[in-house]
C-alpha cells in the first residue's frame, strides 16, 4: 500500500490524525503531514478508514498488487 496526502485540498478536519496518528499528523497550519507513505501492514485497515473519512478526499491509496 502506498499513500498520498494532498496538502492543497486538506481542510484540517483531523479525521486522519484521529484515526491513525502513527501515519497522519498536522502541521502548525492544521494541514495534513504524512509521516510515512508506506504504512505497516497492521495500519493499513485504519489507513483505508482515514481515507474514507477525509471530507476533502485528500488521501489517495494505491494498493499493492496481490502477489499470486
Amino acid at each position: 500500500m502506498r499513500l498520498h496526502a494532498d496538502r492543497e485540498s486538506c481542510i484540517s478536519g483531523g479525521r486522519c490524525m484521529a484515526t491513525l496518528p502513527e501515519v497522519f499528523d498536522q502541521d502548525d497550519e492544521g494541514i495534513v503531514v504524512l509521516l510515512t507513505p508506506t504504512p505497516a501492514p497492521e495500519h493499513q485497515a485504519k489507513a483505508r478508514k482515514a481515507a474514507y473519512l477525509c471530507p476533502a478526499r485528500a488521501i489517495d491509496i494505491t494498493e499493492s498488487p496481490t502477489p499470486d
Binding site: I11, S12, G14, G30, P55
Partner: protein, 397 residues
C-alpha cells in the same frame, strides 16, 4: 410517469433525539427525492449516505445564499445577514481562502491543547450543579453556558459579555424572523466595536490573532473579520449546546448503553461519535443550490434547482449502517455526516467532540445515579429542519 407528491419538509420531532415519524415516508422515497418547503417551493432532498457524500463533494453544488432559488427552510433564514454569512454562504475560491485563515486555530492539534482549560470549566459548572442540588436544569446550568464560554474564551471576547452573546446567538438561530434579524444586527454591532478595539490593540485570543495575521497584513479588512467572528459565534453555540442536552437524554433513555459506557471510559470517544450519528442535532446538514447540472442516483438536478441534504436520514441509511435505528455505543460503523462532508465540513468539529466528551465524563462520573426528573415525552422541544433543541432538561441524582 407522474411523480409522487413531494412530502413536506421540515417536520417537527416528537421525541427530541429521534426523527419525526413522517421522515420514514421521505426515506422510503429516497435516496433522492423532492420535498415541499414551508413557502410552497420544492427542493431536492438527499437522504442516502453514499449520495450525501457524493453530492457534498460535487463541484456544481453551491452555497451562495443570494441565489434566488436558494432553499429557505424557515422564515428567519430570509434575512440579509443569514444570506451573507462568511464561509457558510461562500463558494471557492473565497471560501477556501477564509477556511485556511481559520484552520490553524481549530485543527485537531490545536483543540487538544484546550483540553485542560475545558476540563476546568466543565468541572466548575458541575460544582455549581452539585451545590444547587437536585432537581437541576442542565440546559441553563451546563448545555447553554459551556459552549458559549469556551468560544468566547477562544475568540478573546470579554467574559462579562458572554451572556449577551449567549442570548443573541440563541435568538439568531431559534427566534422568529424578526427576533432573529434584530439579534443578528445587535451581534454585528457588538462585534464591530470589538474588532475596532482589537485592531487598535490586538490581544491574545483568536480575534486578536486574526487581526495580527490577516487584517494588519492586508489579507482581509475590518468588515470581513466581523463577518467571520459572527459565524464562529453563531455556529459554536446552538449545535454543541443541543448535542450535549440531547446526548444526556439519549444516554439516560438507554441505561444498558450507558452501563456499557461506564464500564470502560475509553469507550467515550466512540460513544460521542455514535451520539453524533444517532441524534443528528442539525437534522439538515446542508442547504445548497445547483450551479450546474448534477447527476445523482439516476436523477438529474438541473442548474438553479434547490438541494437539501438530510443528515438525520443519511446517518440512518440501512445500506451503510447495521441496525441504523439502534443506539449502540460499541458500534464500529459510527461514520456520519452530522458535521457535513466536503469543503464545508464543520470547522469546529473537534472542539465540539472534545466539549461533549469532557461534559459526559464529568456528569456521569460525579453524578452517579443521574436520571431525568421528568418523562422524556414532557420535555419541551423546539426546532424543525434546523438545530433540534430541548428548552429544559431537569435531572435528579
Amino acid at each position: 410517469m407522474a411523480e409522487a407528491e413531494a412530502p413536506p419538509y421540515p417536520q417537527p420531532r416528537t421525541c427530541p433525539y429521534q426523527p419525526p415519524a413522517g421522515y420514514r415516508e421521505i426515506a422510503e422515497s429516497g435516496p433522492v427525492l423532492k420535498v415541499t418547503l414551508f413557502d410552497g417551493r420544492e427542493s431536492w432532498m438527499i437522504t442516502g449516505y453514499k449520495e450525501s457524500r457524493e453530492i457534498l463533494t460535487h463541484p456544481n453544488l453551491s452555497s451562495l445564499r443570494t441565489h434566488p432559488n436558494f432553499p429557505i427552510v424557515a422564515p428567519r433564514f430570509r434575512s440579509q445577514i443569514a444570506r451573507s454569512l462568511a464561509l457558510i454562504a461562500m463558494d471557492p475560491p473565497v471560501h477556501d481562502t477564509y477556511r485556511r485563515y481559520l484552520n490553524p486555530h481549530f485543527s485537531l492539534k490545536q483543540v487538544r491543547r484546550m483540553r485542560p482549560e475545558i476540563e476546568k470549566i466543565v468541572s466548575g459548572f458541575v460544582d455549581r450543579i452539585i451545590a444547587q442540588g437536585p432537581p437541576a436544569d442542565l440546559v441553563p446550568l451546563l448545555a447553554v453556558p459551556l459552549p458559549s464560554l469556551i468560544i468566547c474564551r477562544h475568540l478573546g471576547v470579554p467574559y462579562e459579555d458572554h451572556e449577551f452573546f449567549q442570548d443573541a446567538s440563541g435568538k439568531v438561530m431559534l427566534g422568529t424572523e424578526e427576533e432573529s434579524a434584530t439579534a443578528a444586527q445587535n451581534l454585528v454591532d457588538y462585534i464591530d466595536a470589538l474588532v475596532t478595539e482589537q485592531i487598535k490593540s490586538p490581544t491574545d485570543g483568536l480575534l486578536g490573532r486574526l487581526v495580527t495575521e490577516r487584517v494588519l497584513t492586508g489579507d482581509i479588512g475590518h468588515e470581513e473579520l466581523v463577518s467571520i467572528a459572527l459565524v464562529l459565534l453563531i455556529a459554536a453555540h446552538e449545535t454543541t449546546s443541543s448535542s450535549l442536552a440531547l446526548g444526556v437524554i439519549t444516554l439516560l433513555e438507554h441505561p444498558d448503553q450507558l452501563a456499557k459506557l461506564l464500564e470502560d471510559r475509553g469507550r467515550l470517544p466512540g460513544a460521542v461519535e455514535e451520539l453524533l450519528r444517532f441524534i443528528a442535532t442539525t437534522d439538515l446538514v446542508a442547504t445548497r443550490v445547483a450551479k450546474g447540472d448534477i447527476e445523482i442516483a439516476g436523477h438529474l438536478i438541473r442548474e438553479g434547482e434547490a438541494v437539501l441534504v438530510s443528515g438525520t436520514l443519511a446517518n440512518r441509511d440501512a445500506k451503510f449502517h447495521e441496525r441504523p435505528d439502534e443506539f449502540d455505543v460499541l458500534r464500529s460503523d459510527t461514520h456520519h455526516v452530522t458535521f457535513g462532508f466536503g469543503i464545508h465540513q464543520c470547522l469546529g468539529q473537534n472542539l465540539a467532540r472534545l466539549e461533549l466528551e469532557i461534559a459526559f465524563r464529568e456528569l456521569f462520573t460525579r453524578l452517579p445515579g443521574l436520571r431525568l426528573a421528568t418523562d422524556v415525552a414532557d420535555l419541551p422541544i423546539l426546532g424543525a429542519g434546523t438545530v433540534q433543541r430541548v428548552l429544559s432538561l431537569p435531572v435528579e441524582w
